[in-house]
């Protein structure tokens, strides 16, 4: 062992986590290994600048990246992903590099009206518990325990044949005799037949629960459902632990090509689910053994990773998934901490970039039931869009990028504590008044803040329709900074980071590209089916920040179409909405594959009109002013 490397102690503040690391170890990996979370949007490639850390004492080596300014570098600021341990260290993880899951909970629960969007379904959960009183065996009636049980079940239900899981038979003999042949049978109702998946002594019908999860690229949301009451008993939210391997699905697919990569991502997804699952059990007091079912709605990439299917081919033309309607799997076989009998149902998907989360949203919002024409927009990193009615549905993914979640923006951040989520500019002075999540000092700006800022700058004439700052306008907030022309939102003295919070022209370019991708996506989709914007009866907006989206401002910058405002409906998290209904109704579950099969996917990357439409949309609000008649900008002489 003569060549063994020196070991150093590394302490991560403010959580005071101490770990030991070999000389030369990568600091980001060291942090991950010790359970300290540092944001790393690019998966450690050194490009995103989100994993900033402060070296309080000790020495690291590594390249100075463009994301760290000279002054910050002097102060000890480094990117964790490009720093190597060279001595004992004390490392501070600044607030902006940490995750604050608590604030995500602020999301308003899906409204009652939203839940009513899907109509005409009956409450009939796929999981049913039945109390059975068997007659004890006698010398005359000496049929086997299982036949005895199935005989009772068949007696009580004639419409379908009951099959038993082998795992039920293993504990049948003991369970049946525990309470004098009184048992509770858990049945899973599938198309055409019913499966006996669990057996418990006595009458346990009062406890029957299911979990639903929306596995997003950025955040994972879960709900615990009481199947006897059709109610949500608990909910929880947390960041997808896969974030450390990359902010977007492409980076994560690439990670899967590394040795052991897929296993790491699969584990990260399962760890996230388990953490939320235990949170919900403890906050509700529901017993672990009362969980009988799990429904998952997620994009195709997330589903592949959860099921440990190699996602490599999803990102290669012709973009074919391994599976679009995954069979039921035992949740425990994936590593999810449930009892053996619990099955996990994945919402079917349509294509590589149009996943079960969108099918779920369409299902839950009932778009596929109505004759009126609906445009469904999921404002998120993948930018999925659906257009259609009760006869047809077309779908596309516009790949908007992480801008709306604060990614690719110099002072951008997720909609968590410290993020500027709303602001107004004074008409005369262009001085901003900002609204910060958590009401503390601002640390950065999140998606809704970015949209509101851009709309305000445009209305005040501080930017041109091309997104360039009008430097000749007299505003103390406009200046030339390290990255060119910029607008100062918050001066260092008032910010929580001790530095100015700014928005520059590169940020503006990123925003314009993101909104143009979404606009071009739905514009192309609408035209490709021979329709026009004015034919749209409803616009359903889903997404992580749907509830905090200012419609008027989103229209001003050309993100949403200029339609009468009453046509817009927010449903919040559409993915969870559909998943919940599936847990509540076998009928709805069957509908899910109908909805998926109704959807025709349009591959925008192969569409020539999309590129042209995209360039046309790279203007505020749009190159074709006739498409935005209600918008007036301040960009005139």
């Amino acid at each position: 062992m003569s060549n063994s490397k020196k070991k150093y102690s590394v302490v991560f503040m403010p959580d005071c986590v101490e770990t030991s690391a070999e000389e030369g170890s990568n600091l980001l990996e060291t942090a991950i290994a010790s359970g300290v979370h540092i944001n790393a949007g690019c998966g450690g490639a050194g490009t995103c600048g989100t994993c900033n850390i402060l070296i309080k004492t000790g020495k690291v080596v590594g390249q100075k990246t463009a994301n760290v300014s000279d002054a910050d570098y002097q102060d000890g600021l480094r990117q964790a992903c490009s720093s190597r341990v060279m001595s004992d260290l004390v490392v501070e993880v600044p607030a902006a590099s940490r995750l604050e899951a608590a604030v995500l909970k602020r999301e308003t629960p899906d409204s009652a009206s939203a839940a009513m969007l899907l109509s005409g379904w009956n409450y009939s959960p796929p999981i049913e518990k039945r109390f059975i009183r068997m007659s004890p065996p006698t010398m005359q009636d000496n049929t086997s325990d299982l036949s005895r049980l199935l005989r009772c079940l068949d007696n009580s239900q004639t419409e379908s044949i009951v099959e038993a899981d082998f795992s039920v038979t293993k504990k049948l003999a003991t369970t049946a005799r525990q309470d004098n042949w009184h048992v509770s049978a858990t049945l899973l109702k599938l198309a055409g037949h019913t499966r006996l998946i669990n057996i418990e002594p006595s009458d346990t019908r009062t406890t029957n629960y299911a979990f639903v999860f929306d596995i997003g690229t950025t955040a994972v949301r879960g709900q615990l459902l009481d199947l006897n009451r059709g109610q949500i008993s608990a909910q929880a939210i947390g960041y997808n632990k896969q974030i450390r391997f990359g902010a977007d699905v492409i980076a994560r697919i690439n990670q899967c090509s590394q040795p052991g990569g897929l296993a790491k991502l699969q584990t990260a997804a399962v760890d996230t689910i388990n953490e939320l699952l235990h949170q919900m059990l403890s906050s509700s007091g529901v017993a672990h053994s009362s969980i009988n079912h799990i429904v998952v709605a997620a994009n195709t990439v997330m589903v592949h990773m959860l099921l440990a299917l190699d996602p490599k081919y999803l990102r290669m033309s012709p973009y074919v998934p391994t599976i679009s309607s995954p069979p039921l799997v035992r949740a425990r076989s994936l590593g999810i901490d449930t009892e053996e009998h619990v099955r996990l149902f994945c919402m079917p998907s349509v294509a590589s970039y149009v996943g079960g989360d969108i099918v779920s949203g369409i299902l839950g919002s009932g778009v596929y039931q109505r004759p009126s024409l609906t445009l469904y927009i999921d404002i998120g990193t993948n930018g999925e869009i659906v257009l259609g009615n009760n006869e047809w549905l077309v779908t596309a993914a516009a790949s908007a990028g992480p801008t709306f979640e604060g990614g690719g923006i110099r002072c951008g951040m997720l909609a968590i504590n410290g993020a500027i989520e709303d602001l107004r500019l004074d008409d005369a002075s262009a001085e901003p008044s900002v609204k910060v999540i958590g009401d503390g000092q601002p640390l950065g700006i999140c998606g809704s803040g970015i949209i509101n800022l851009t709309a305000s700058l445009l209305k005040n004439g501080l930017i041109t329709q091309a997104g360039r700052f009008n430097m000749e306008k007299s505003s103390a907030r406009l200046r030339y900074g390290e990255n060119g022309a910029e607008y100062v939102l918050t001066y260092a003295a008032d910010s929580g980071t001790g530095k100015d919070i700014t928005f520059n022209e590169t940020d503006m370019d990123n925003l314009i590209r993101s909104k143009a991708a979404l606009y071009a996506g739905y514009h192309t989709l609408i035209l490709s089916v021979g329709k026009h914007m004015s034919d749209i009866d409803h616009v359903v907006i889903a997404g992580t920040f749907g509830n905090r989206l200012n419609i008027e401002n989103a229209i001003t910058i050309g993100l949403l179409p200029d339609l009468p405002r009453h046509k817009f409906t927010f449903i919040g998290n559409g993915s969870l909405l559909g998943a919940r209904l599936i847990a509540f109704s076998t009928e709805v579950q069957r509908q899910s594959s109908v909805v998926a099969s109704m959807m025709t996917n349009l591959e925008l990357s192969e569409n020539a009109d999309f590129m042209s439409s995209y360039t046309a949309a790279m203007f505020l609000p749009h190159t074709d002013a006739a498409l935005f008649p209600s918008v007036t900008t301040g960009d005139t002489a």
């Binding site: 091309a466 190159t623 960009d635």
Partner: protein, 317 residues
């Protein structure tokens, strides 16, 4: 079956009109645009003002031109005014385009003062309209073209290229002195329109705006340029897109003559035939294609190429 039936050409219905822009001043002022149909579609409408050719001259003697291009001007290339006069007198040029390549910071980098003085001298020495074309370097063009606009304040020049990256200062100055602006964008109908909107926001009137959609030579993507110009014209004439209804200028000669094919000698590749004729044809046909697409002003170099294109314009008019 009616034997008296006469074949009727299917006709396009137009709803738009290209704006008329008058270049220069006095007797020799030239108007372009004004048409209400696709170029040379006289059976459908009228082009109002015919397509024009501007002859190009340079502020510094060219050092990389093929012999055939240089030959007609060998005696005047070191004097821009003499060159301009030769174009007007010997070749009946209706417009002159002074290309300020000497100001390129990556080249001779002549000063804005020097450039402005050259432009002023040429402008004072000829009576046809003068187009002044910079280097598309935003900082340098801002400096050079603003000074040119100021120095030649009464000359009603046509100045460009004015791009998204430098339009504010150049356009504001040009506007202040009554010059016409060449709005230049890179080969995309949307980018062209966006710049025109920005210029309109700045107060540039339609009567002082021509459009440069960026062009390239035969063999170097001219079909793409054709398609973009054609789409701009379709938008203006059939979709009443006022923001795309400006006359179009194509700065094509320099693109054709710098191509490898224009510069090769007959010995380099005998299959390509006579070098001089080849260069002339490349220029003439490239220019012609772009006029067919919808160009209103072609900037050209070689007298023989110009003569060919003029002949074709006459034949079709």
């Amino acid at each position: 079956m009616n034997n008296n039936a006469i074949f009727e050409l299917p006709k396009q219905n137009y709803s738009g009109l290209i704006k008329t822009v008058t270049l220069g001043k006095g007797d020799k002022a030239v108007s372009v645009g004004g048409g209400n149909s696709y170029p040379f579609h006289y059976f459908e409408g009228n082009s109002c003002h015919r397509a024009r050719i501007a002859m190009e001259i340079y502020d510094a003697p060219p050092d990389d031109w093929p012999a055939a291009a240089l030959e007609p001007f060998a005696d005047v290339v070191s004097d821009p005014l003499a060159w301009a006069r030769k174009c007007v007198t010997d070749y009946e040029a209706e417009l002159i385009c002074l290309q300020l390549t000497g100001t390129d910071p990556n080249g001779a980098n002549t000063s804005a003062e020097q450039a402005a003085s050259t432009v002023n001298r040429v402008a004072n020495g000829i009576d046809v309209p003068l187009i002044v074309w910079g280097t598309a370097n935003h900082e340098k063009d801002t400096e050079v073209l603003r000074l040119v606009c100021e120095t030649c304040h009464d000359k009603k020049l046509i100045v460009g290229p004015v791009e998204e990256g430098d339009y504010k200062k150049i356009a504001a100055t040009a506007l202040g002195y009554g010059h016409t602006i060449i709005a230049s964008s890179s080969i995309d109908i949307n980018l062209a329109k966006q710049l025109n909107i920005l210029l309109a926001n700045l107060g540039v009137p339609d009567s002082q705006l021509v459009l440069d959609p960026t062009v390239s030579s035969i063999g170097y993507g001219i079909e793409y340029c054709y398609s973009v110009i054609e789409r701009i014209r379709m938008a203006a004439l059939t979709q009443q897109d006022e923001k795309l209804a400006a006359p179009i200028i194509v700065n094509i000669a320099r693109e054709t003559w710098k191509s490898k094919e224009a510069g090769m000698s007959v010995n380099d590749d005998p299959k390509l035939g006579n070098a001089a004729k080849r260069g002339i044809m490349l220029e003439a046909i490239s220019a012609w294609i772009l006029l067919m697409a919808g160009g209103d002003i072609a900037i050209m170099r070689h007298p023989e190429a110009i003569s060919l294109v003029r002949g074709m314009i006459c034949d079709l008019s």
